[in-house]
Amino acid sequence: MSLGQVLQLLIRDRLALAGIIIVGTFVLVAIFAPWIAPYDPDQIHRVDGRVARLLPPSSQFWLGTTNLGRDVFSQVVMGTRIALEVGLLAAFMVTFVGTNVGLIAGYFGGRIDAFLMRIVDILYGIPFTPFVILLVSLLEPSIWNVVIAVSLLTWRTVARICRAQVLSLAERPFVKAARVAGASHWRIMYRHILPNILPLALLEMSFVVAWAIIAEASVSFIGFGDPRAISWGKILHSAFIAGAVRTAPWWVAPPGVAIVLLVLGVHFITRGLESIVNPRLRGE
């Protein structure tokens, strides 16, 4: 199924369309963030000669200020960039690794399959959040390390699902025909089988984007995010430590709402993709 056809089907599904609009809006905000944010997110503001600590929302500071006098709205706007960067980066990496492993395991079968799936099984036994916390505490805090920490385990699901699909495809006549015609393994895998599992891979990637955005927010919330970057998780980290839960709801609510909206948009798209990949669901 071509990308164009997929898009067409997605747009017809109302929820999926809403998802595309939401995510699209966030992408635009991320691209134009420095122009949309009224202030520098790190700038400490002063009002009447004193630091503008914990000011509630006003016409000057749309979402109020933090305990250090920083504009919450600007921070939230700039945070969009990290969320999308990490989400998309992790999603690409995970999908790339997972799809290839699934492809190789499912196609070759036998010992290679058993070996690869043993690794996947072991990875399945590792609890996600605790492992990620362990990793980021040992590594230098940076965006890349967060992405790696999140990606190291997540590919296990993609691999399993792609492998299942490849297994069912490998028995099909067109594969056998290609083999008889003398095509090499790699050619069959990448030119014949891969295009057929692409919609599934795309669906998995969609899941991972949502997963990665929340995972990054969680890591930053605990305090292990990149110290130079602004992420929604980091804003909530500062808010939590400063006791804003008791004193400043305007600081606590917006970053979370942003996460919910973006991830919800991704979930809508995922559901749309799901009914494309499983035509059975489409008839409903």
Binding site: L15, T129, P130, L139, S218, I222, F224, I259, L262, V263
Partner: protein, 324 residues
């Protein structure tokens, strides 16, 4: 059944062993200075030299590995906490059950609510109510648990004052019997918010799964007959349709037990709930590696245990799986 159990336990043992190895290498390969992960730099040169000898840090890697395995598997010795100067095990031992209670309670709530909600959504298929319901379920999935926790504390603890904002009990608690230690009003009051927040975080799966299985069941002839019999809508949805749609959802509950245990980390942290999850976060933040390592291994072991329990439950519900 016995052979099945034996096989599962063997698999778990192997997995545990592999996990211990992975953790060992993670701690030695990742940090810039691996020794920092083993020895508290603030101790002073003689203490450090002594610890070097004791942990065999000057020995070749494979010797260290053997020592590590020996300590954990024979003595249950996970090392000494840098922060508390006490064995890591002592700090963590009584936290295990707290995490278990939170995990199981939240999962049960999530599935109970999810089943009812999913059945309702399936019944009102194609209506705006259904779309709103699905959106709500997905929104709960999209909301990070730690943030929902903060919002709940904001509204229900500080705002309305209905529940305490953190902890498991009021300080200064005295009660001897184990039963009464956990089955009392104070404990339950402290449990409500964290359990609810954790439940909301996992409610999407049972809701959507139940909805899907219900949709299949709803087309069955016996549902049509129930309508023809003039039974009330509630009766048809729950006693006839849902009753048949339940099995996959209940098996999903079993398989998610392990995941739930590992997933309490952030909720425990936000609510200062004294469980393993909170400990691993605190330990990581303090760079107290022995405790972080121990907490991680304990969580992983609990997850494995829960998965075995789940397999047993699953085998009981669907006997075919045992003979696979």
């Amino acid at each position: 059944m016995l052979a099945f159990m034996a096989r599962r336990l063997l698999e778990a043992a192997i997995s545990l062993f592999v996990l211990l190895t992975i953790v060992f290498f993670v701690f030695r390969l990742l940090p810039a200075n691996p020794v920092d992960a083993m020895v508290d730099a603030s101790l002073g040169p003689e203490a450090i030299a002594r610890l070097y000898a004791e942990f065999g840090l000057d020995q070749p890697l494979w010797r260290q590995y053997v020592l590590y395995l020996k300590n954990i598997l024979t003595k249950g010795d996970f090392g000494m906490s840098f922060f508390f100067r006490q064995p890591a095990v002592d700090i963590l031992a009584d936290k295990i059950i707290n995490t278990l209670i939170l995990a199981i309670t939240s999962l049960v709530i999530a599935y109970a609510l999810g089943i009812i909600w999913g059945a309702l959504l399936a019944w009102h298929r194609g209506t705006p109510f259904e779309t709103a319901g699905i959106t709500a379920a997905l929104a709960f999935k999209a909301a990070p648990e730690f943030w929902v926790g903060m919002i709940f504390v904001m509204i229900f603890a500080y705002g309305l004052g209905w529940f305490p904002h953190s902890g498991m009990r009021e300080p200064g608690y005295e009660e001897t019997s184990l039963f009464l230690k956990y089955f009392n009003l104070d404990f339950l009051r402290h449990l409500v918010l964290p359990a609810t927040v954790a439940a909301l975080g996992s409610i999407a799966t049972p809701t959507l799964l139940m909805r899907n299985t219900m949709l299949e069941v709803m087309h069955e002839d016996f549902v049509e007959l129930a309508k023809a019999k003039g039974l009330s809508t509630a009766r048809i949805i729950y006693l006839h349709a849902a009753r048949n749609a339940l099995l996959p959802v209940v098996t999903s509950l079993a398989t998610n037990l392990g995941r739930a245990v590992g997933g309490m980390v952030l909720v425990e942290y936000v609510f200062s709930w004294p469980g393993l999850g909170r400990e691993i976060v605190l330990a990581a933040t303090r760079y107290d590696y022995p405790v972080a390592q121990a907490a991680f291994l304990m969580i992983a072991a609990m997850v494995m245990l829960m998965n075995i329990v789940a397999d047993l439950l699953y085998g009981y519900l669907d006997p075919r799986i045992v003979y696979k």
